[in-house]
Subunit: 395 residues, 2 copies
Amino acid sequence: MEMNFSKKMQNMKPSAIREIFKSLGMPGAISFAAGNPAPESFPVEALSKLAADIFAGDSTNALQYSVTEGYPPLRELVAARLKERFAIDTDNNMTLITSGGQQAIELCCKVMCNEGDVVICENPSFIGALNAFRSLGAKPVGVELEADGISIEGLEAALKANPNARFLYLIPTFHNPAGITMSLEKRRAVYALAQQYDVLILEDNPYGDLRFAGEELPTLKSMDTDGRVLYCSTFSKILSAGMRVGYACGNEELLQKMVIAKQVEDVHTNIFFQMLCAKYMQEYDLEQHIATIRELYRHKCSLMLEMLDKYMPKEVTYTRPEGGLFLWCTLPDSLPLGELINDLKEQGVFVVPGTTFNCDETVPSSSFRLNYSTPSEEQIERGIKTLCETIRKKL
Amino acid sequence: MEMNFSKKMQNMKPSAIREIFKSLGMPGAISFAAGNPAPESFPVEALSKLAADIFAGDSTNALQYSVTEGYPPLRELVAARLKERFAIDTDNNMTLITSGGQQAIELCCKVMCNEGDVVICENPSFIGALNAFRSLGAKPVGVELEADGISIEGLEAALKANPNARFLYLIPTFHNPAGITMSLEKRRAVYALAQQYDVLILEDNPYGDLRFAGEELPTLKSMDTDGRVLYCSTFSKILSAGMRVGYACGNEELLQKMVIAKQVEDVHTNIFFQMLCAKYMQEYDLEQHIATIRELYRHKCSLMLEMLDKYMPKEVTYTRPEGGLFLWCTLPDSLPLGELINDLKEQGVFVVPGTTFNCDETVPSSSFRLNYSTPSEEQIERGIKTLCETIRKKL
């Protein structure tokens, strides 16, 4: 039969990043395209032991249907950690376990937006969020990202121009893809504008634990006095990405609505791995484990920056991240991005073009994203050399 | 801040079944309300051994991000089983792993329906599906369910009256909540009508493996000659419900669109448990395991029917299921359902009122659903006695 899809899904295509993955099979390929945590960051031995304990001691609960809100001990442990580590007032906010941070983003949009409504985002922004909004018929509207975070003038103009904006989607800390962190001053200004225009803020903070340089900054949620910030994050970057365990914390009325929406998406998140996360937090030192991941990424990021400083032509600029997984390179206007991406691909080096992350995908970009968490040291050295030489030849 | 939710979510409430669960804490409570598989049906020892093998041999793949379509070996194993066991032409259909059967239902609606579009359902129908449709702004329209399945005249009338019906949602085998199985003749008639009115069929078959009486009937999908049937099912009732692993099989164009929609909901289903399902199918005898579950439910269902035959006043009718998890009781009009439910609740016996499963929830019901997979034999004996005595007193 001829398929006639919903308007919201009709024009949606698989993400460009997925398409890149299909080329990764070639021998010797080096991918700076993924957003995967380093495999050496998974605490395999501990998880294996705890899994055996769960099978031995609590298998019925671990394999049976469970409640949509999440495994109660895990909700409590996450809330306690959000309070201690990120100064979030979890006494007056509810915590929900989601199937990755991705699900929290999608549920927020489902609960808040009618088809045609607007979500204001940093431009560029996380492709998974942009596509979640599009898949529900909402429209991402981008605001320019500056070195210290979203443009405040741009944000106010967007709020004025879009009275049907239902929330701001922001990644204030170690932005994906741009690697930028929003300044304290801008955090305060963003919150004040959200109050003034009475919109919700969705603060996406999957990388907040991965600071390896500079000073900690308060989360937007820690500044929230009127239940206006929905905070979401994940265990993907600190324990395991493949288990799909994330969480959201916010206004109880909003979270209860998200529970109803989650129930009809997947009933609940894999309960065995929710129990595994709780046991890990109870029996092991999560903060110590995170400290080792920070060291690992500090080292990989330094190596990538060292190689870029040494080999990259000065016409190309790049960010110097203080944490997270990504850095962002910008080419001079004279150098066409698409051609570079193709040349690199032929040499087995993969990066993600900036257009992928644009709120309006028809607008060209002269930037691309580099990931340093997944490749090995040897791959970073070899791949960045190839990248720089390829650019040099084109200048 | 004051919350102003999307139109589609505004009036959605937590399911009545969830609310019942909150009362289950009382000592001695007997629940016929759940749809949980029997905990003794989980192959704990085998899963525990296989989980240890995965941690020992393939931990990086089991804990890292994976592809949205699902773990390739599991997709192949599921497809091979669908072909062999249910005569589904998996060579010309794509198989996708989902986070429970629930996600396949929700994705189908997201991909097919604009807000305001109609989904034609049996009435009553599965509350999880009805709420999934509502959460996307689609409207479930019910067609009367007869002893041998959906009313064919009713279905044709609904198709005529609703030109914006985008698909039929059907549970042809061991219907939830009604315990009914659609006859072969009606299966053929339904498929012919779907062709005539050019609509898709979503065939939900979570209980198809659980036949313990009567003759096997072909799935609608096995009759599908033009890619019109999307088939979905789950491992929830045969391995573990808490792991949230289900699957969909259908037209590749449709499934590819569902992949895009799934990617922005949860990226992929918990990969560790996908690997666990695949390993179970490779190293153990799934069909033998299912045979033991069938025996267990045959026994529990027989016991419940025996108790009903012995104690239930003849004014009350009930279905005699040939498989699945539920039977469906109907009261005489003189006996008000709400009052009975409350009286039972006070005695610690919980059943789900039929109104919960109505496409139009404002229409009253004189039926209720009984589950026999979760309660123990002792609970079935004691609970059904209480149920029958309570009804007898009210007649």
